[in-house]
């Protein structure tokens, strides 16, 4: 498994078999081939996750371009204007990074999954050391040697590790986000790069199954 080198990017997942996007809920069996062969909706949903089109950055542009659910262009036929208007008012949450002089705000509604969110952090905090944490070659910031773990405060006031619950549940319950120095986050022991990588790929692979 390439978790050693896997990072929070939107490149192709290592193994495609059980992570291939299909039209059914995880656990359902394959639909039989009784339907007549014709252009099928499922033909259109072999979405490559993120993909090799984005050549400049490792992270795809922070939009709903790689959705958690299969989406076909222009379907259902609702005007984008109406779709935008009907969204609940944006879900803006504060993002604090330990050691950074000021906070940022992100609109969680703009992201379709954890992967995009972490990429968003990379963009937001590019002037900070966090960029190096997410960089596939280095998880350590050369300046202060810190690693960061994303945590969030939920509606009940508890501080949770980002990534445990399904994305939509997270969006609903997240009040604010804190990128914690991992020395605080994990009982004083430093998360190794491998641990972080495993965690990151766990988020990634979870998303694939949904």
């Amino acid at each position: 498994m390439s978790s050693e080198t896997s990072t929070v990017t939107s490149e192709q997942p290592p193994s495609t078999a059980d992570t291939e996007l299909t039209l059914r809920l995880p656990g359902e069996s394959q639909k039989s081939e009784t339907k007549p062969t014709k252009r099928r909706f499922s033909d259109l949903t072999d979405l490559k996750l993120g993909g090799n089109n984005e050549s400049d950055t490792e992270c795809s542009v922070v939009t709903r371009s790689t959705p958690a659910k299969e989406r076909v262009v222009g379907w259902p036929p609702v005007r984008s204007h109406r779709k935008n208007m009907m969204k609940k008012d944006c879900k803006y949450v504060k993002v604090a990074v330990d050691g950074a002089p000021y906070l940022r705000k992100v609109d969680l509604e703009l992201y379709s999954g954890y992967q995009q969110l972490l990429c968003g952090f990379e963009h937001l905090f590019s002037c900070f050391t966090i960029r190096n944490v997410l960089n596939e070659r280095k998880l350590m910031d050369p300046v202060n040697g810190m690693e960061y773990v994303p945590t969030y405060e939920d509606k009940e006031g508890d501080w949770m590790l980002v990534g445990d619950v399904p994305w939509m549940m997270f969006v609903e319950s997240c009040k604010r986000i804190r990128l914690m120095k991992n020395s605080e986050a994990v009982n004083g022991s430093v998360l190794t790069r491998r641990d972080f990588g495993r965690w990151a790929s766990k988020i990634g692979s979870w998303k694939l199954l949904v």
């Binding site: 339907k35 007549p36 014709k38 252009r39 099928r40 909706f41 259109l44 959705p67 659910k69 989406r71 076909v72 262009v73 222009g74 379907w75 259902p76 036929p77 609702v78 005007r79 984008s80 204007h81 109406r82 779709k83 208007m85 009907m86 609940k88």
Partner: protein, 583 residues
């Protein structure tokens, strides 16, 4: 009846030019000036040359439903006295991102010609056109009598363009901006209306997102005594709305702002009072963020409402019932599927006069149930006058639609969108063929049909066999083979607009419509099995059609992924971007 026996010379016999008409030109002119319907005028113009000429000289309004079907020069040459133009551009599927940016439909070439030919132009209504700020400024500066601008689903302009309109159109009566791809730069365009502008009758900026100066708005509403339509945006709160209502109790149509704020009870009373003075209100819309907390402020006017647009209000069945219980005169109702089947039962119970219902999905990608077959049946039971339905749902059954057809045989517009493509009847797992079969068999007046769900060629056989009045057809993810489309193209004589996506229809199907296309406005086919060869063949056979292929990046060169076919007297487009290939 023998015309000779009655002593009347029938105009248009054409035989003897000396006695082609008994009616003096002045008489014709006066008579025709009373005829406003485009359809009637078109018929009149076909009678004979004299009638054609008198008609064309007296026509004041022209509707160009496909801006590429004719050129501005041809239009202005035929109709020299136009004061009002309706212009529609892009194919409808552009609303759903199926048409690339910069495809065309630029309004500027039209404005350029109109500036010389129609300097007295008063009204311009645009739909799916590309409109730039420069164009809006051009419009504002070149037409001194300009009065009414309406833009629906247009894009390319910003609030800067609106500033130009507000500044220069001294006689503006109507500014109607709806659902456009507008760059809302804020900037307070509303304040650009001069103090002495008092002519406004229609002001709709409900879909702009940035704040406007409330003072400017208040002053505008206060001095425009003829204001009858006011639709504000989400930035206007209830308290501000109340102030506006006090200034304009004569309103006929109102679009509210947001209901979000919590008002003190004094304000609530004031607002209710303000509403109660609006005796002419028949249309209410917007209702952003509405909850049962402040919805009651509109109750005083519910009794008069004929059109209630709640499609931006994510309310539930209870809120809906409260409103509907007081709105017995409703004719048109738009809601979001958050009202659920229970809400639709309330519709069936309270709205016996209902003729049109639209149910939009709150989140098209959310798998939550929303409304289902039972809601639709409930409405059909209680609303026998229903003739227009737009219904987004996750699942449907044949049985339900068959029942609906029996309850409401007068459908003219039946648009059913089962949101999961190719979804079968969820109870029987069968295709939805019988559902649409029932609709076309029973509803003989059907003009517009949108189909969805799992459909075989049989559904299309039904459509071709029974839907003899069908004008507009939308198809997606349906059919088995070319036969499907062939049934329709051969069977439906009144087709005007056909739009198809993601269906297994190929060249044979495309060519089966050969004889139809010239009497149709347009055909759109995307992600079907049409090839470039098929398109070339069509183009060769029919010289008065534009057969355009929109090329995708990459992809097989032999396939024609997006095809747009339309009749035209203007020849191939001169402004086609590189990715649009006319064959």
């Amino acid at each position: 009846m023998d015309p000779a026996a009655t002593g009347v010379t029938v105009a248009g016999t054409g035989a003897d030019p000396a006695k082609t008409t008994m009616f003096p030109e002045e008489f014709l002119k006066r008579t025709f000036s009373l005829i406003n319907s485009d359809k009637d005028r078109n018929s009149v113009s076909l009678v004979c040359k004299d009638w054609y000429n008198v008609e064309r000289m007296s026509r004041r309004h022209v509707s160009i439903r496909n801006c590429y079907s004719v050129s501005p020069e041809i239009v202005t040459a035929r109709f020299p006295a136009i004061r009002s133009v309706t212009l529609k551009g892009k194919p409808r599927f552009s609303d759903f991102n199926l048409v690339p940016d910069d495809w065309g439909a630029d309004v500027q070439p039209w404005l350029n010609v109109f500036a010389t030919a129609y300097p007295f132009l008063e009204e311009l209504r645009l739909k799916r056109m590309a409109v730039s700020d420069e164009s809006l400024e051009f419009l504002a500066l070149n037409f001194d009598d300009f009065k009414a601008l309406s833009m629906l689903s247009c894009e390319g302009f910003s609030t800067l363009g609106l500033e130009a309109i507000a500044t220069h159109c001294k006689n503006l009566t109507e500014l109607d901006i709806q659902e456009n791809g507008i760059d809302d730069l804020g900037g307070d365009w509303l304040s650009y209306f001069p103090e002495n502008l008092t002519s406004l009758e229609v002001l709709n900026f409900s879909t702009l997102t940035s704040e406007v100066s409330f003072d400017a708005l208040e002053s505008l509403v206060s001095r425009c005594k003829s204001l009858r339509v006011l639709k504000v945006n989400r930035k206007i709160n209830l308290e501000q709305l109340g102030k506006l209502l006090v200034l304009a109790p004569q309103l006929i149509e109102l679009g509210t702002g947001t209901f979000l704020e919590e008002l003190v009870s004094g304000s609530v009373n004031g607002l209710e009072n303000a509403f109660s003075k609006c005796g002419n209100l028949v249309t209410l819309s917007s209702f952003w963020d509405a909850t049962l907390l402040h919805l009651p402020v509109v109750y005083p006017v519910c009794g008069n409402l004929t059109f209630l647009n709640l499609s931006y209000a994510n309310i539930g069945p209870d809120e809906l019932e409260q409103i509907l219980g007081r709105s017995k005169r409703l004719v048109r109702l738009w809601v979001v599927d958050t009202v659920g089947d229970k809400g639709l039962e309330a519709v069936g119970s309270h709205c016996p006069l209902l003729e049109e219902l639209r149910v939009f999905p709150v989140d098209p990608f959310d798998q939550q149930l929303g409304v289902t077959d039972s809601g639709l049946v409930a409405v059909s039971k209680g609303c026998p006058k229903l003739h227009y339905i737009l219904y987004f749902c996750q699942r449907m059954t044949n049985a339900a639609v068959i029942t609906v057809a029996q309850n409401c045989p007068n459908f003219t517009h039946f648009r059913l969108c089962i949101m999961n493509p190719s979804e079968p009847d969820y109870l029987t797992n069968e295709p939805m063929d019988e559902a649409f079969g029932a609709i076309v068999k029973t509803c003989t007046k059907l003009e517009r049909l949108s189909v969805s769900g799992l459909l075989t060629d049989l559904a299309f056989e039904y459509i071709g066999k029974y839907a003899k009045n069908l004008e507009t057809l939308s198809v997606a993810f349906a059919g088995d083979s070319d036969l499907g489309m062939e049934y329709v193209m051969r069977g439906c004589p009144k087709l005007k607009r056909v739009e198809i996506r993601d269906c297994p229809f190929g060249d044979s199907a495309l060519l089966s419509g050969l004889t139809q296309y010239e009497s149709m406005r347009s055909l759109w086919m995307s992600d079907c099995n049409v090839t470039m060869d098929g398109c070339k063949k069509l183009a060769e056979e029919m010289s008065r059609l534009n057969v355009e292929v929109i090329k995708d990046e990459g992809g097989d060169d032999r396939l024609a992924n997006k095809v747009y076919v339309y009749r035209t007297v203007a020849g191939p487009r001169k402004d086609a971007p590189p990715f649009v290939v006319t064959l």
